[in-house]
């Protein structure tokens, strides 16, 4: 019996990769919440979650109790499921339900083009047991989908989450949610531009949209973070802003907007928002790994050709190792984002827009032009590019004082105050009250 014509080894590998990676990402997202709480706990000198194990309250599973609190994400997920799913009056019913799904779906399908394990060599013909079908084998790419648009797919899908967030804020009929959604959409579209420009710098070096070729270029010519340090930094900042992470989480800043666009959400409809935020982070840092950190490549030049760690080894074991390396780098990126969250305070919204429009966009435009010129003069090896980046940074720093500046945060003079006294008025800044002088006698001067 003949196999259907569309069934190829590539398709089967794609489906297997999808099934593995979707579950891996969901698990990773769940345990990211745990990791985030543990990291914040260590930074703030606390212990963090350490109670919930896997004993489910059953006496005979007592040995599974505790376990560093590893059961916490599972318990949280169950709790979300059992909570009341409430919709406020005046909310748009259809959009309110649709919004979390519109956020979650792009987050889940974004990873499809990432080549987790490089190329796998299969025998020329493969026979499927039981059905007795023979299909052509050969070299296949370990990715969710081997499509020709590659990077553009990631960009297109990644920017679709904005719709969900805007819809969520609009449908809630809550002023905080609405403001949060507006801020989120403005911020996310703003940071998409430098992100796209940074990807352009990589494409200008590689000359292809295929993720496999981008990694192949980095295996041959060194990681692109060496050739494009400025673009790499800008890109990382943009990932933070795109996934609404601190220091760019103005969409949900507690002090101003309660919880931002998901103020009115509860139960699993709420849970989809943080879940997709964590998946967005994981996919974003996998994207960063793909573009700048060499993907599955380990910089070990000295190992032999057929060694397990060699990038050109395409056996199944080597592919699994590559998968692990890629995932390890991506998880490292997520952990860095968490460290950033608990280290750097949030920017004000006008500062966020200022950084985006007056900082990152001009910088990344200049980097694109510089890369194009370097490509024209065929000086694309990483020492040349590094030198060009250093020169560019120096020039930009030199130009900084003469560039036009936004006039925000100007101090408003309060006429008549002790700092800006009225004309002819004399101000005594030494304490005059007896209580104050008694309280700090060393600083107090004797009142006249």
């Amino acid at each position: 019996m003949d196999a259907p014509s569309f069934l190829t080894a590539q398709l089967i590998v794609n489906i297997v990769v999808i099934l593995i990676v979707v579950h891996l990402l969901l698990g990773l997202a769940g345990y990211s919440t745990y990791g985030e709480r543990k990291i914040s706990a260590y930074i703030q000198d606390r212990i963090g979650p350490n109670r919930v194990g896997f004993d489910l309250g059953l006496p005979f599973l007592k040995f599974l109790r505790g376990l560093l609190g590893l059961g916490q994400p599972l318990a949280d997920g169950l709790k979300f499921m059992l909570k009341e799913d409430y919709m406020p009056r005046g909310a748009d019913k259809a959009l309110f339900t649709l919004a979390p799904m519109v956020v979650a779906i792009p987050a889940l399908i974004g990873f499809a083009v990432i080549p987790w394990g490089g190329t796998l060599s299969l025998p020329e013909t493969i026979t499927i047991p039981l059905l007795n079908w023979t299909i052509p084998g050969g070299d296949v790419v370990i990715a969710g989908a081997n499509i020709s648009v590659g990077i553009i797919y990631l960009l297109a899908v990644g920017s679709m989450a904005i719709y969900g967030i805007t819809l969520a804020g609009w449908a809630s009929n809550n002023k905080y949610a609405f403001l949060g959604a507006l801020r989120a959409s403005a911020q996310m579209i703003s940071y998409e531009i430098p992100m796209g420009l940074c990807i352009l710098t990589v494409l200008l070096m590689v000359g292809s949209l295929l993720p496999e070729k981008i990694i192949g270029y980095q295996v041959a010519h060194g990681w692109l973070v060496l050739a494009h340090p400025v673009a790499a930094v800008v890109f990382f900042i943009c990932i933070l802003a795109e996934s609404n992470r601190t220091p760019f989480d103005n969409a949900e800043c507690e002090q101003e907007l309660v919880a931002g666009f998901h103020t009115e959400y509860s139960s699993m409809r709420y849970a989809l928002f943080p879940l997709s935020e964590y998946i967005h982070m994981a996919v974003g840092s996998a994207f960063f790994t793909l573009l700048f950190l060499g993907g599955y490549h380990l910089p070990l030049g000295f190992i032999a050709d057929q060694h397990l760690l060699h990038p050109e080894n395409t056996s199944i074991l080597a592919v699994l190792v590559k998968f692990g390396v890629f995932l390890g780098k991506a998880v490292g990126g997520v952990l860095t984002m968490m460290l950033v969250r608990w280290t750097i305070p949030r920017l004000k919204f006008d500062q966020v827009m200022q950084v985006g429009w007056q900082g990152l966009i001009p910088i990344s435009l200049v980097v694109v032009v510089m890369t194009a010129v370097m490509v024209f003069y065929e000086k694309t090896t990483w020492p040349w590019m590094l030198a060009a980046n250093a020169l560019l940074t120096l020039v930009l720093l030199g130009l900084l004082p003469i560039l036009p500046r936004a006039t925000s945060n100007k101090k408003v003079r309060l006429a008549g105050s002790r700092f800006y006294p009225l004309e002819g008025e004399r101000v005594r800044t030494a304490p005059t009250s007896a209580a104050a002088i008694e309280d700090r006698p060393s600083q107090g001067t004797v009142a006249v």
Partner: protein
């Protein structure tokens, strides 16, 4: 150099994407529906109000908002379309002969194209589109 398996651009290479999309939609729909079925449902008088820091909500939230968001969206369109036009150029340009007349023409045309966007950017900057204070 690693041998690269070229994607042929055929429609059949999008089958996995369709599968993934189906899985994602099922996941989203399942979670939303399941928690609706499992969770308790108790409605109440003031419970249906939207949250406004504990005060009785004033009016609706569907109000007019700051025009700056609209301006940002307009400028975003300019830049986004510029970038979309740059993508085909960026994938072709490094494959040309570096330093050749052909490459020179490609480089200067695209630099002119970028310069037109820079003009728009400077106009926006002068008009204060990027200032949110």
């Amino acid at each position: 150099m690693i041998e690269v398996v070229l994607a042929d651009g055929a429609v059949s290479s999008y089958i996995p994407v369709m599968l993934l999309l189906t899985m994602a939609v099922t996941f989203g729909a399942f979670n939303v529906i399941a928690s609706r079925l499992i969770g308790p449902r108790r409605d109440g008088g003031t419970k249906g109000q939207t949250y406004e820091s504990g005060m009785a909500p004033i009016g609706t939230a569907r109000k007019r908002f700051n025009v700056r968001f609209y301006l940002i969206a307009m400028v975003f369109l300019v830049f986004d379309i510029e970038i979309i036009f740059l993508y085909p150029w960026a994938t072709t340009f490094p494959n040309l002969d570096p330093g050749s007349t052909n490459a020179q023409v490609w480089l200067f045309r695209i630099l002119f194209f970028m310069a037109t966007t820079v003009v728009a950017y400077i106009y926006g900057l002068r008009k204060g589109v990027f200032r949110f204070d």
